[in-house]
Symmetry: C2
Subunit: 358 residues, 2 copies
DNA sequence: CTGAAAGCGCTTACAG
DNA sequence: CTGAAAGCGCTTACAG
């Protein structure tokens, strides 16, 4: 009897050796067709059969090969997320929210952090995996990003850019940075400040350009000359540590005569660095000078006084970006290269106060 | 002539309609075999042919369908990274480094942030994509993680856990938290501190258990009784905002008589919150009390005094985890369920000083 | 329900 | 170099 058993063809495989629906079908004693119909929830099977297969799936942990399924034509449900300059609190919050929102829409976000300049390679990888859309998030070189957007447009792959990088050929969702500067200037101007120092708002980034444009407009609106009322001491555009950079600039600003009475920082880390350095130089905040941060991160509450800062409205940004992409997916046509602006909010705390008398 | 052209079968397709090597081969005027050989760098083709194909790849942006390639048998080169409790500065640093190191080894890290309890679903997704290994990073429920590890062991999929979560069936790389507590106690004890307050070191987490064990051992070594020398006021184990939680606990501790002279915090955010709250209650640091943080993040330098903190040695942790996984991949056998400990480092700054005289 | 067949896009070994 | 064939793991439509 034993030898008869051993020559039976196609024996029931061990649960851990199940590699395909064929193996699995043999394991449960059904045909591949029957198994496939359970997997894909097709009608016309007895409930008992469905139950049998379901239980065997549990037992064996068998998962149908996604590559075969997708090759057959099923959409991958994957959305590539292409990230640069990732390791910032706001960046992380955006990514986390993005993945959550996409999951709610039934998509799997495949996050890939790329090193600068490697976007072509990464997009090719995503395309070879036949992702259904690609989302760019972070700060990219604008011509490089434009090239990638052209690639995707050519292949009819939906895409959206979160955070404006100066690439105007892509559907984009970004904070309205000029509006942010208008909010900041409105607040500081109302407090009597007329001389503004910029802390770290420099460099070849679209976000910087947008802010400077906004600042210029906000000052013009109040009949202030940009050159006469704004001072920026930036020497280095690339900084390893925003916090230390803020301290360095504050040290320099502290020596200037006349010194600006209000400082506008590129982000909260830089603002906190500057604030602490000013304080250790015996300058009082906000009595001697005011400081405004950017991003409204947790650290705004960690200083004394707490930091006034601009909130990016990340939730709304991410929600809109997902809406733009899912719209393209539904309509199966690319979105126009439109920039959708998110209105910022100024969160006023204690680091800003009335300008000191001379 | 025109009508003759139009009835020619298999015309050269438009560049943007190339979906397969068949389309692409027609586009370049070669056979699928020839194209495939260029794609896979097989010998036996004229340099001119290779060049022709390469250029056409550039022109058209054609990417071979990864699903077909993998179905055929090519390893996916993908490593699934399963993340929980993602949005912390150290978590992000680890992820970023991890992706970088894996890329250097020729692997693509697919990061997926999961909501608690959803690991089964996520691991199934990774398995269906036939990832070559799975890395768990963050704080997981230990029985849930043990279930996942069992799944992977059954399927012979290499895996490693970064950060000990109390699952002792997996190869694990984790900070030596007891050693961290020994460092902290050694430092504080040498400064004369004998009464210790715990700030946020509580809750059903393995990391907490490890630290309390280490604390107990470090005190015993110095003939101090845990119950008599340690005070912990934690009411809430789940906190939305570590910073605010630190402030709350500091407010309570400030009222205690006798009050501990040294405080050990669960992380830097909590420590900074406590430090600022103590200061706003007119307690001097380190003259009246000392505080030690955990993680050695940037914010340790943002307070005055700067915060003494334990450094996790993230680079070494990640490098070792990658080494463990790539070893399994090379040897094609699972690693033993061994816990590899990374030695922490105490970074002494100004928030710790001699214990006050009574 | 089963079983045989076709086909998704690729690679490879083989004959020419 | 080409061309035909086989096969990876799946789904689906079809005949029984």
């Amino acid at each position: 009897l034993e030898s008869v058993e051993s020559i039976v063809s196609d024996p029931k495989p061990a649960p851990n050796l199940i590699r395909s629906t064929a193996d699995f079908a043999r394991y449960v004693g059904l045909s591949r067709s029957a198994v496939s119909r359970v997997l894909n929830e097709r009608p016309g099977l007895r409930p008992a059969t469905v139950e049998l297969v379901r239980r065997a799936m549990q037992e064996t942990g068998f998962t149908p090969n996604a590559h075969a399924v997708h090759l057959r034509g099923k959409p991958t449900g994957m959305i590539g997320v292409c990230v640069e300059n990732f390791v910032t609190p706001t960046g992380v919050t955006k990514l986390s929210l993005l993945q959550q929102r996409l999951r709610e829409c039934g998509y799997v976000a495949m996050i890939q952090v790329q090193r600068p300049g490697a976007s072509a390679e990464l997009v090719r990888h995503f395309l070879s995996l036949r992702v259904e859309a690609i989302i760019f998030i972070g700060h990219f070189n604008s011509t490089e990003l434009a090239d990638r957007v052209a690639d995707l447009r050519r292949h009819h792959v939906p895409h959206v850019v979160i955070d404006h990088s100066g690439c105007d050929t892509a559907p984009t969702v970004t904070l309205d940075r000029p509006a942010a500067m208008e909010l900041v200037v409105a607040h500081l101007h109302a407090l009597g400040h007329r001389r503004y120092g910029l802390i770290g708002i420099s460099g070849p980034y679209q976000t910087v350009t947008d802010r400077l444009d906004g600042l210029r407009a906000a000052l013009a609106k109040r009949r202030l000359d940009f050159g006469a009322s704004v001072e920026s001491l930036d020497a280095l555009h690339i900084r390893r540590d925003h916090f230390e950079y803020g301290r360095t600039l504050a040290r320099e600003f502290a020596r200037r005569r006349p010194r600006p009475t209000a400082f506008i920082a590129v982000n909260d880390e830089t603002a906190v660095g500057a604030l602490l350095e000013f304080q250790s130089l015996r300058l009082r905040i906000p009595a001697d000078l005011s400081i405004v941060g950017f991003n409204n991160q947790n650290i705004c509450q960690m200083t004394r006084p707490q930091l006034t800062s601009v909130d990016q409205q990340i939730e709304r940004t991410v929600a809109l970006a997902v809406q733009v992409v899912s719209g393209q997916l539904r309509r199966a046509k690319p979105a126009p290269a439109r920039v959708r602006l998110i209105a910022p909010e100024l969160v006023v705390r204690d680091s800003t106060g009335p300008a000191p008398r001379h």
